[in-house]
C-alpha cells in the first residue's frame, strides 16, 4: 500500500513538472524574411502560384506551405480587392478558345465564397499574395534569419531544396538547380531579387 502511494506521488510530481512545459505560448520572434514589397513579391508569387499552388498540391489548406492565387486556393476573409483585369470567363481558355464555348475547367464562374473569389476566376489579389508571403516566411524562420544576415545560403531552405529536388519532394522536381525558378526563389530570400529569372520560369 505504501509503495503504491510512493508510485502515485512520483507520477503526480512528474506530471506536474511536465505541465509548465506544455502551457503558454513561445515568445514571438520578429520575422527576418525580406520585407514584403508588392512589386517584388508579386514576381515570386506568380512563380509559386504556377508551380506550387494548384489545388492538388500547395493550394490545399492542410499544407504547412499554402499558396493562394487565381488558379488555386483563394484566400478567405480580408479584403480581396481585384486590381486588374480578370472577371468572369477571364481565363485564357475561356469563351474565346478555338473550340468555342466555355472553359472546361470551370474557371471564372460561380458565386464563390464569402470573398466572392473563385478558383480560376479573378486574378490574384495583394491580400492573397500577402498570405502566401506569410506562409513562406513561417516555414523556417530561424534559417531565413541566418540567410538575411548573410550567414547561410538560401539552398539551406527546405522550400528551395524541395522545388529543385535537392531534397525529396512528393510533387517532384519543379525546376533544376540554378534554373530561372531556382534563382527567382533564392535571390528573393537573399534580398536581391532576380525578377527576370522569375519571369523566365516556365
Amino acid at each position: 500500500m505504501r509503495l503504491g502511494w510512493i508510485y502515485f506521488t512520483v507520477a503526480a510530481l512528474a506530471s506536474a513538472a511536465m505541465v509548465p512545459g506544455c502551457i503558454g505560448e513561445p515568445e514571438p520572434v520578429a520575422s527576418a524574411c525580406p520585407d514584403y514589397v508588392e512589386d517584388d513579391f508579386s514576381e515570386v508569387s506568380a512563380v509559386l502560384e504556377r508551380k506550387c499552388g494548384t489545388l492538388d498540391c500547395h493550394g490545399q489548406n492542410e499544407r504547412s506551405f499554402v499558396v493562394f492565387g487565381q488558379n488555386g486556393r483563394r484566400r478567405p476573409g480580408g479584403t480581396n480587392v481585384v486590381t486588374s483585369g480578370g472577371g468572369s470567363g477571364g481565363s485564357a481558355t475561356g469563351g474565346s478558345n478555338a473550340t468555342g464555348g466555355g472553359n472546361a475547367t470551370g474557371g471564372g464562374i460561380g458565386t464563390g465564397g464569402p470573398t466572392g473569389l473563385v478558383t480560376g476566376g479573378d486574378p490574384t489579389t495583394p491580400f492573397e499574395r500577402a498570405g502566401t508571403y506569410q506562409s513562406l516566411c513561417a516555414l523556417q524562420p530561424e534559417i531565413i534569419a541566418e540567410i538575411t544576415a548573410g550567414e547561410k545560403d538560401p539552398t539551406e531552405l527546405t522550400v528551395v531544396r524541395k522545388a529543385s529536388l535537392r531534397e525529396a519532394h512528393k510533387g517532384g522536381q519543379l525546376w533544376l538547380p540554378d534554373s530561372p525558378g531556382d534563382l527567382c526563389l533564392r535571390t528573393w530570400f537573399s534580398g536581391d531579387l532576380n525578377d527576370i529569372a522569375c519571369r523566365q520560369t516556365p
Binding site: 464555348g101 472546361a104 474557371g107 473563385v118 478558383t119
Partner: protein, 182 residues
Amino acid sequence: MRLHLAILLGLAHLSACRSPVLSDERDALGPELPDVERGEFHRPGQPCLRCHDSRGGQDPEMVVAGTVFATPEGRVPFANAAVTIEDGLGELVTTSTNCVGNFYITKEDWPDAVFPLRPSVACVGPGVAGGGTMDSLVYRDGACAGCHTGSAGEESAGWVYCFEQQPNPPIELDPSCPGRIP
C-alpha cells in the same frame, strides 16, 4: 497454433498499413447506387483515384479519371467528349466520355505517364462546340473531382463542363445509359 499466429500477424499487418485519411475519404463517398453496377458507369463526379490508384487497391489502377458535365450547374453528363491529356514529356493520350460522362486512362494503358499533366476537353453538341484546356497543371492528383467538385468556389474549380449554358436542344442523360447521376 502456428496458423493462428500467422493469421493474427497478417491482420495486424493489414491494419497497420491502412491509412485513416484515405479510409475517411473513401467512406465519405458513400455507398454505391443500388441500381448501378460497379464499373465504368458508377460514381460519376466522384474522385475515382481514391479507390483506383496504387493505394486504393481497386482495379483497374488509373492514371487520370473524371466526369465531364454539359454545363457548370445541373449535373447533366456529357457523352462522347474528347479528353486529351498531355503529360510532362509532351506525350498525348486521348480518350472519350461514356454516357454518364465518365472517362479514365488506366495505368496499364499509360504506364509511363509523367506528371504534371495538362488536360483538355473538346465537346461537340447540337450545333455548338465547347471545351477548353486547363489553365494550370495537374501535379499530383489524377482524380479530376479532387479539385473539380460542386460549384466553383474558394477551394474548387467547379465541375468540368462543356458549355456555359445548355444548347438548344438541351443535352440530356441517355435513358438507356447503365449509369446515372445521384
